[in-house]
């Protein structure tokens, strides 16, 4: 029943987006496609952190794996883009599995450190094996709209269609997964590992699965991003990107798929907006390029202190009676850090 509802919602959204793609100019189409491309990675991360209770500070690494896999398949195998998207998701999922096996043993900052270092180290493979990965010039990714759409069909609109379609499919799958037995088990593990394992859940396997799912999403998202930007390079997958994904998930509202959409929109749309703002207010170059950075930092701090449930949490608070769902992922995360302070609060 939920499956049907989710599909129905997705189809409705898809129809709306289709109409929208005709209303926008080509530049907005591209921005739109870019937002849609990033949603997948943010959604995967929000499920990993918000639902399964594990952290990743290097999720850009999985986007990199997915996008390089896609670029290589397109270059050498000339696969249909649909198959490429699926295959790159699977490759990233495999990498996520390996990371997940390590992750299942690690907690809090140790896991954060391992994922961080993964994101730092992985791009250097591209420089090491230049003949395969193209060094710092990377690999170009070029796709064309199917001939059936006509010769004048703009590429940008095709990007929107593909990104939205692939992302909607991802979101439907994620929404169902989160509401399935697996999703419930993840929450149980997140809330209390020991209790979950006493109740017969295989904690390690569930945690690995969460990494697999989340990495697959990042892989698909990386492929879409590579397609929209027409290139894959190591410089695209810096720590800045990984931290951007993390902050997007949090700003949007952790654990919420809709929140992932808001987060991705901020990630893509805020920088040009802020730069335009700073430039148009006549700041000097050094200042105008740094004002957006400082402002973003302030926003992160303020949101976390005042609005810890992110945009989606805020919307829920505005639109309806306080929904406990929004707060749940946060309380659950306490497991990461056995702060003595909390114990006190819990017992007193």
């Amino acid at each position: 029943m939920t499956m049907l509802r989710h599909v129905a919602i997705a189809v409705a959204c898809g129809a709306l987006l289709l109409l929208l793609s005709y209303r926008l100019d080509l530049y907005r189409d591209l921005q739109f496609a870019e937002v849609a491309a990033e949603v997948g990675a943010v959604a995967g991360l929000t499920v990993l952190i918000g639902i399964s209770g594990q952290i990743s500070i290097g999720h850009g690494a999985f986007m990199a794996i997915g996008s390089y896999a896609a670029a290589l398949l397109l270059l050498h195998q000339h696969w249909n883009i649909g198959y490429v998207i699926v295959a790159s998701g699977l490759v990233a999922a495999a990498a996520g599995g390996i990371m997940g096996i390590a992750a299942a043993r690690l907690r809090g900052p140790y896991l954060a450190g391992a994922t961080l270092m993964l994101a730092v180290a992985l791009p250097s493979l591209a420089d090491k094996y230049q003949s395969v990965f193209g060094g710092d010039q990377g690999l170009s990714v070029s796709i064309t709209p199917p001939a059936a759409l006509g010769a004048t069909f703009p590429l940008q609109r095709w990007f929107v269609w593909l990104s939205c379609a692939a992302t909607l499919v991802l979101l439907v799958l994620l929404a169902n997964l989160v509401r399935s037995r697996i999703g419930r088990s993840w929450r149980a593990v997140r809330d209390d590992e020991i209790a979950a394992s006493l109740a017969g859940l295989n904690v390690a396997r569930l945690q690995i699965l969460a990494f697999v799912v989340s990495a697959a999403c990042a892989g698909v998202s990386g492929t879409l991003y590579a397609m929209v930007t027409t290139i894959v390079t190591p410089d695209a997958f810096t720590l800045t990107l990984s931290i951007g994904l993390l902050t997007a998930a949090v700003l949007g509202g952790l654990g919420s798929l809709l929140g992932a959409v808001w987060g991705a929109a901020i990630l893509v749309l805020a920088p040009p907006f802020l730069q335009d703002f700073a430039t148009s207010h006549g700041f000097s170059s050094a200042v105008s390029s740094n004002v957006p950075i400082a402002a973003y930092g302030v926003v992160l701090i303020v949101v976390m202190l005042v609005f810890p449930a992110g945009i989606q949490g805020g919307l829920r608070r505005l639109l309806g009676p306080a929904a406990p769902v929004a707060a749940a992922p946060f309380s659950a995360l306490r497991r990461h850090a056995p702060a003595r302070e909390e114990k006190e609060e819990g017992t007193v």
């Binding site: 100019d25 080509l26 530049y27 591209l30 870019e34 730092v120 791009p123 250097s124 420089d127 060094g135 710092d136 010039q137 990377g138 170009s140 070029s142 991003y225 590579a226 930007t229 027409t230 290139i231 390079t233 190591p234 410089d235 695209a236 810096t238 800045t240 040009p272 730069q275 000097s284 170059s285 050094a286 390029s289 740094n290 950075i293």
Partner: protein, 440 residues
């Protein structure tokens, strides 16, 4: 053969230029002053809008982030003194953080949203390679890419793209030729950035230096986590190999680190550094606090570094170009250091204004491309290669030594081509002085 090829084209290009100038003069004198129209995308009766992608923040920013403000300062100067046929230049430069994916995004913004007339001086090899196809597919003039990669010289594939600075292969040849003549039989070590920049440079060097003379080649990764550790290791290996001359194709921060690392392992070879990594003011900015702590190596760590230059030396304060740019610097961007990057930014902006004047009162994208072919020499010490079949920029440089913090020429201007066998010859022409108005 290559010489005759070159020589064959210079007069042709000159003729073409002459024809254009005559045509421009003819039209303006014949029918009085034509009204200014919105003759192309990005051009109105009052403005010319151009755009660029530049690293303004992030690890690649330091130094490079001065170039666009410097270009803009020159444009403001032109705007304040009558503009280009009365039109003011509006320069939109967006931050791509040296990330090719972001380059794609910002160039799309420039072309699709800001409707720029041309992309000007987009910075970086990997970044610009990410957009060169799109720019050409949209037939937007892609003028004077800020990178010495050979890749911009593909008139058939990329008819709208032009390089500007001395390309790395030519530069490698000129440096290699000098080392081969002046350090005969010495053991040579190479230190280079492991990308197009370093590899093209090494390619040019190897056209001139026999392979057996090269005893060590140490690449570095510009994005290294701990550059000082990486360069320290490289210095130790160059020393162990017994290299007496170290030729570097490195960016300034890595040139500076190499000097420091050499001190750190008690190693004092003759350093030869390509233009990109040898700007004395930038290097001094990085090293000035070391000078008094560097022990027996003298007052300045830079003393005696051999390099090449394709723009006049900032140390030559009597040079008309340096005077002009110093004046503009002091007026518009006094807070930035007057270094090689600022000089570069203004010089390339000057070239753009030159091209716009040649493109006529009501320029089109086609007319500006035609204007670039055969563009006369101005700020650079050597002529441009621009022709219908060659989109490389500056063709030569002079050898120089850093003495007391300035570049002192130690040889004549030499020009060459980018082929393995093309001769390196002394340039016989003279560089024109800057116009008194400061405007082409």
């Amino acid at each position: 053969m290559n010489r005759s090829h070159r020589l064959g084209f210079v007069p042709l290009a000159g003729l073409a230029a002459l024809a254009l100038v005559v045509a421009a003069c003819g039209s303006s004198s014949g029918s009085g002053k034509k009204a200014l129209t919105a003759s192309a995308t990005g051009i109105t009766a009052k403005t010319i809008t151009i755009g660029s992608h530049q690293p303004l923040t992030g690890i690649a920013a330091p130094g490079y982030d001065e170039i666009a403000p410097a270009s803009n300062a020159y444009f403001q100067y032109v705007n304040a003194h009558g503009g280009v046929y009365g039109r003011k230049i509006k320069y939109i430069y967006l931050n791509d953080q040296y990330n090719p994916s972001i380059t794609v995004t910002v160039v799309n913004q420039l072309i699709l949203k800001d409707n720029v007339f041309a992309i000007f001086n987009g910075l970086g090899t990997p970044t610009h390679l990410a957009v060169v196809k799109t720019i050409n597919a949209d037939h937007v003039p892609d003028l004077f890419v800020a990178s010495g990669c050979e890749c911009w010289n593909q008139p058939k594939t990329y008819p709208d793209t032009f390089g500007w600075q001395l390309d790395y292969v030519r530069e490698g040849k000129i440096l290699g030729n000098y080392v081969e003549q002046h350090f005969k039989g010495k053991k040579i070590g190479l230190f280079y950035q492991n990308d197009e920049f370093g590899l093209d440079g090494i390619k040019g060097l190897k056209y001139e230096i026999p392979a057996k003379q090269i005893v060590a080649a140490e690449p570095y990764n510009a994005a290294a986590s701990n550059p000082s550790q990486e360069v320290g290791t490289a210095a130790a290996k160059l020393k162990a190999a017994g290299a007496q001359v170290v030729i570097s194709f490195s960016v300034p921060a890595f040139t500076a680190l190499l000097r420091l690392s050499e001190l750190g392992v008690s190693y004092n070879p003759q350093n030869v550094v390509s233009d990109v990594g040898s700007d004395p003011i930038t290097l001094e900015g990085l090293l000035n606090s070391f000078a008094k702590k560097s022990g027996s190596f003298g007052k300045s760590l830079l003393q005696g570094i051999i390099t090449d230059g394709y723009l006049p030396s900032l140390g030559d304060t009597t040079n008309s170009w340096i005077k002009l740019f110093t004046k503009i610097h002091n007026e518009y961007i006094p807070k930035l250091p007057l270094d090689g990057n600022v000089l570069y930014g203004m010089a390339v902006a000057y070239t753009f204004v030159q091209a716009m004047f040649r493109a006529g009162r009501n320029p089109t994208r086609a007319s500006v491309l035609a204007a670039v072919n055969g563009l006369p020499q101005a700020v650079a010490v050597a002529p441009f290669a621009y022709s219908l079949t060659d989109h490389n920029g500056i063709t030569g440089a002079y050898m120089a030594e850093i003495k007391n913090g300035v570049l002192v020429p130690i040889g004549p201007v030499q020009v060459t081509d980018d082929t393995p066998t093309g001769a390196i010859t002394t340039y016989s022409g003279t560089q024109p002085s800057a116009p008194a108005s400061g405007i082409p």
